[in-house]
Subunit: 249 residues, 2 copies
């Protein structure tokens, strides 16, 4: 009998149609769709491990996952073809390859890049629907950029996490950079870090936008970050604007 071989997958998805990454009883998650795909191809149940559990509505340009496969090892390109033939078009396996059994999609991840997209204009174009947060009121980008700088570095991000302490051993994370750019009506906020707590990116973007709308003072955001405390009026930016861009190992 052949040894189990570990396959690494790069997966893109339009999250608007799914209940997030992590498996649920109703079966309409990215993980469920992938596991069903492997199950139908191999005839045996498979467990797919993702680099991160994206929430319902959150998208991915390149989520990473691994799966252990026994049985006859197919060439990677055949896996891509066979899985995409079974998956809904809103989930695509972009590429895959066999890796060492030491590789673990979540535990081996060293860097993650998330992008948050904001559409800043009176009308949200139809092609941006469910792919950006529509904010009709004008945003002060200078204020937003200044506030974002405070998040760079190693911090206890407990003040910007949901369900803190529940799933994570530590709430200390390092953000290497936050890059904010505007091109016409589209504002992108790119987060480059060693890992992110549950809802951390959306809670930070929520605070940045409150600052940019003049509804919150940067000092209060900084105070919350430094306190490591849960604040009273936290606000998470909606899932539809969030994209997992890349996982680095």
């Amino acid at each position: 009998m052949a040894m189990a071989r570990r396959l690494k997958l790069i997966v893109a998805y339009d999250g608007s149609q799914f209940a997030g990454w992590q498996s649920q009883s109703h079966g309409n998650t990215i993980q469920d769709h992938l596991e069903r795909g492997f199950g139908r191809i191999t005839g045996t149940p498979a467990r797919v491990h993702g680099a991160g559990r994206t929430d319902a509505g959150v998208h991915a340009l390149a989520q990473c996952a691994h799966v252990d496969l026994s049985g006859k090892p197919l060439p990677p390109a055949r896996w891509v073809e066979a899985l995409n033939a079974l998956l809904p078009p809103a989930i695509r396996v972009l590429r895959c390859g066999y890796v060492s059994n030491n590789f673990h999609a979540r535990l081996s991840a060293k860097r993650k890049i998330y992008r948050y997209r904001i559409w800043s204009g009176p009308v949200l174009p139809p092609f941006e629907y469910r792919r950006a947060w529509h904010i009709a009121r004008p945003l002060d980008l200078k204020v937003m950029k200044a506030a974002a700088k405070h998040f760079v570095g190693t911090h206890d991000f407990a003040g910007f996490a949901a369900n803190r302490g529940k799933a994570e051993n530590s709430t200390i994370r390092t953000i290497y950079s936050v890059r904010i750019r505007q091109k016409a009506a589209c504002i992108t906020v790119d987060f480059y870090g060693d890992g992110f707590l549950y809802k951390m990116v959306r809670l930070i973007v929520g605070a940045l936008v409150k600052c940019a709308l003049g509804k919150m003072r940067t000092e209060d955001v900084v105070a919350r970050l430094e306190s490591g405390q849960l604040g009273p009026a936290r606000f998470a930016a909606p899932a539809e604007g969030l994209f997992l861009i890349r996982v680095r190992y």
Copy 2:
């Protein structure tokens, strides 16, 4: 009583959810949605005239339309707000303004720009689903560009129209330019012309792709164009890749 005033609308839509522009009994067309919106706001039936009737699945970045409104004239920005509040998010009124009663969205149109999008790669990303024609086999762009040049100019396009003679008085049209560009896997074909016959852009793209795949000779495409005759094996590119980009007056 106030005179009827003519309102010009610029409308964008993701065509994948609708049965095209033109009104149908089931009511799920762009025209139907707009007319219902006006009807609900004004309390009287309205007839919306579009610059062109896009097919089911065809998109628009800036379709143009007009409507005659009696009753109290709302400011244009209020129409945008009121209509978008009623329309599905896949149809958006981008802007509108009052125009002279001599203006007619279809009859006054002088130039139209259509874009056809092709995704040339092994896997169609989820965000391109229903927004591009996915062609996994490699395309010879040089051949495609050379074949496209033959369509520029004033021709009888009967050989590249469906239902010819039915809706049109003449099958003579002028194409000012066909511009083909590739950026990574995405190929765009932009058509700039004084007007287009029914399915003309999709039939031309179908022929260009057949040439680029080595399945048709450029000479045969040219012969069909020059003959003005319906060919036996015509092939229209799918609707999902087609975008009405702009109408000029």
